[in-house]
Amino acid sequence: MRTDDLIAALATEVAPVDRRAVAKRLGVYALAVLPVSAAVMVMWLHLRQDLAEAVFSGFFWVKLAYALALALTGFLMAERLSRPAAPFQRPAASAVRVIFGMAVWGAAALYLTPAPERLATWLGGSYSVCGAYILTLSLPMLAAALLATRQGAPTKPRLAGLACGLFAGGLGAAVYCLHCPESAAPFLATWYTLGMLATAALGALLGPLTLKWR
C-alpha cells in the first residue's frame, strides 16, 4: 500500500476524540473489579468485627487515606505513562512523599512508644500476613489496570507496569482496611507499605510482558 493511500484511508473517518479517554478507561476498569476484591475479602478474611465502631476512630480513616493516596498517585502515574512522552515525575514524586511522610510518622510514633512495647506495636497481630493479603486483594485491580493501560500507548512498559501496581496496591490496601484491626502508625508505615510496594514490583515485572501494543 502506498503511504498516500494509507493517509487517505485513515482520514476518511475521523471521529472526535474524548480527551479524558485514557483516565476514564483506567478508572472504569479498576472500579469494575473492585467488588471482586471486596467479595474475596469478605468471604475469605471477613470484615473486622468492630467495623461499626472503628469508623468512628481516627486511625481507621488514616489507614484508608494512606491507601487511597497511594492509589491516586499510582493512577495519575499510570495515566501519564499510557501516553508517549508525557511527564510522569510529579505523581511519582508525590508517591515518594506520601510513603516518606508515613515512614517519618511511623518512626516518630515508635520512638514515643515505651521501649518494652515497641516490638509488639511494630509487629501488631498480623505483620506476617498483612503484605501478602494486600498483594492478593490487589490482583484483580492489577489485571484491570494493565489491561486498560495496554489500550493506551505505553512506551515505558516497566514504569507503566509499576504505576499500575501502585494504583492496584493502593486500592487493594483500601479494601484490606475493612478487615484489618491494626491501629498503629509504625504498623501501617511498614506492612501496608510493603504490601503496596510488592504489588508495584509485581506490576513492574509484568509490565514488559503485558504492555505490548501494535
Binding site: T3, L10, A21, P84, A85, A86
Partner: protein
C-alpha cells in the same frame, strides 16, 4: 516544513473531528517520519513500512496525545517505539518472508545486510546522544572537530562519549543486557 505550532494545531483540530486537518497532519508527519526511519534503517522499503506503521499508530492512539504538551515529542516517542519493536522482531527472525519476490535477489547481499542491521540493533540500545555521536564519528567517518562543533560539545567530550559508547556496545555484544 511545518512548525510545531502548525502541526499541533492540525492535531488539535483532528482530535475535534476535523478530517481535513487530520489528513494534512498525517501527510506532514509522513515526510518527517520518512527522514527519521531512513536515517536509522538504510533500507528504504523497510523504512517506508515503519512510516506507515507509525502513521497508523498516530491515528489509532491519538487519544493518548495530551493537548497541553508539545506534539513532536509524542510523535517521535511513537516512532521510536515502532523502531525498537521492529528491530527486536527482525533480530529474532532475520530471514526475508518467503512470498517476497525480492528475497531471492537479496540472497547474495544478505550477510552485509545482516551486519548493517546488527549494528542498527545495537545502536538502538544506546541513549540518543551516544548513538548520534557514534554514528557521526564511527559510521559516517566525520572528524571529531566537526562532530564537536555540530553537537556543541568539546572535542574531549566527544572522544570520551564515543569511547564510553563503544565500551557499552562491546558489552552488548558480550551478551550483557542494558539496565533501564
Amino acid at each position: 516544513m511545518h512548525t510545531e505550532a502548525e502541526l499541533k494545531a492540525m492535531m488539535t483540530a483532528g482530535l475535534a473531528g476535523d478530517a481535513g486537518a487530520h489528513r494534512r497532519l498525517l501527510a506532514a508527519l509522513a515526510g518527517r517520519l520518512r527522514g527519521y526511519f531512513r536515517k536509522r534503517l538504510h533500507d528504504a522499503s523497510e523504512a517506508e513500512d515503519l512510516v506507515q506503521e507509525t502513521l497508523l499508530a498516530i491515528h489509532l492512539k491519538r487519544e493518548t496525545y495530551d493537548v497541553s504538551l508539545p506534539l513532536t515529542p509524542w510523535v517521535y516517542a511513537l516512532a521510536r517505539y515502532k523502531l525498537i519493536d521492529h528491530l527486536r522482531r527482525s533480530g529474532a527472525r532475520p530471514t526475508a518472508p518467503l512470498d517476497d519476490a525480492d528475497a531471492v535477489m537479496a540472497e547474495d547481499v544478505s550477510e552485509a545486510t545482516d551486519a548493517k542491521r546488527d549494528v542498527a540493533v545495537l545502536l538502538a540500545r544506546l541513549p540518543e546522544r551516544q548513538r548520534a555521536l557514534v554514528t557521526a564519528v564511527k559510521l559516517e567517518g566525520r572528524s571529531v572537530e566537526e562532530t564537536a562543533s555540530r553537537f556543541g560539545l568539546s572535542e574531549s567530550g566527544v572522544k570520551v562519549t564515543v569511547h564510553r559508547s563503544l565500551k557499552r556496545l562491546a558489552r552488548f555484544v558480550g551478551g550483557a543486557s542494558d539496565a533501564d
